[in-house]
């Protein structure tokens, strides 16, 4: 029988892969996608708990996570475009100075 543990382990694995991607990749957009992956792993945890505890509050939380992810996508990508205009690159190794 499928239990809560299955979903939580899957979610943990996906979160670790996302964390690995944030650490090893140097393209800012790919790092951003890995953050989205981590957010999704947490969403899966929320929905699995919500289902097995019979409490709908977890699914409402997933909505707020999605909203924050959407806002983060808009602002983050705008930042990357602004940075690319100045440096012609979005490699995070080039983003090591506060000044231009």
């Amino acid at each position: 029988m499928l239990s809560l543990h299955h979903y939580l382990i899957l979610s943990g694995i996906l979160f670790s892969i996302g964390a690995l991607g944030v650490l090893i990749r140097r393209n800012a957009i790919v790092i951003f996608m890995c953050v989205e992956l981590m957010l999704n792993a947490v969403n899966l945890t929320f929905i699995a708990f919500s289902r097995y505890l019979g409490n709908i509050d977890g699914q409402i939380f997933v909505f707020f996570v999605m909203t924050v992810a959407a806002a983060e996508a808009a602002v983050g990508l705008a930042l990357m475009i602004a940075f690319y205009k100045n440096r012609e690159s979005i490699d995070v190794e080039d983003i090591n100075l506060m000044k231009l």
Binding site: L14, R26, M33, N55, A71, A82
Partner: protein
């Protein structure tokens, strides 16, 4: 038993495609693998009796957010990464990721996995409808966070316009 088999299939595809997100050199390939992962997530949400969340996942994540990301990748005309990763950096990152996984499984093994229970059962979901249950909770119990969310979105709109504009 078929449930477990189907779960293993979906989970396997999700894990493989998320590994591809990390491993692929071309950002477009990463984005496409990420869309695959999001679809697997949507499938899992359906298995967890949350069809409305699955629809939202496909529309908002696989649709809106990923279109935005792919659009920016194409706008910036990024090519495949040519620079090599440092070996020790990759090694340390792998160790950190495995440690994260260990900590998560440690919590899983130790904690009793309980919490505030509610009255949402699969029977209720099929009878009333998942969307209606979500709507009731969101517009009664979570009305204030819902309204605050709209302010967050407004801030995001204004912020992204200011950041991406050349001159105001």
């Amino acid at each position: 038993m078929p449930e477990i088999l189907f779960f293993s299939l979906v989970a396997g595809v999700a894990i493989i495609s998320s590994i591809l997100v990390v491993a692929m050199r071309n950002p477009i390939n990463c984005a496409l693998s990420l869309i695959m992962t999001f679809f697997c997530m949507a499938t899992l949400y359906v298995m967890l009796d949350a069809p409305f969340m699955a629809a939202t996942q496909v529309i908002v994540y696989a649709g809106a957010i990923m279109v935005l990301i792919v659009f920016v990748i194409m706008l910036l005309n990024m090519r495949t990464e040519t620079s090599k990763n440092y070996v020790h950096g990759v090694l340390v990152s792998c160790i950190v990721a495995v440690l994260t996984l260990f900590v998560i499984s440690g919590f899983l093994a130790k904690s009793p996995l309980t919490g505030a229970t509610g009255n949402m059962t699969p029977e209720l979901i099929t009878k009333v409808g998942h969307t209606e249950l979500i709507g009731q909770a969101m517009f009664t119990k979570f009305l204030l966070p819902f309204e605050v969310t709209s302010i967050l979105l407004l801030v995001a709109i204004v912020g992204s316009v200011i950041l991406a504009k050349r001159k105001l």
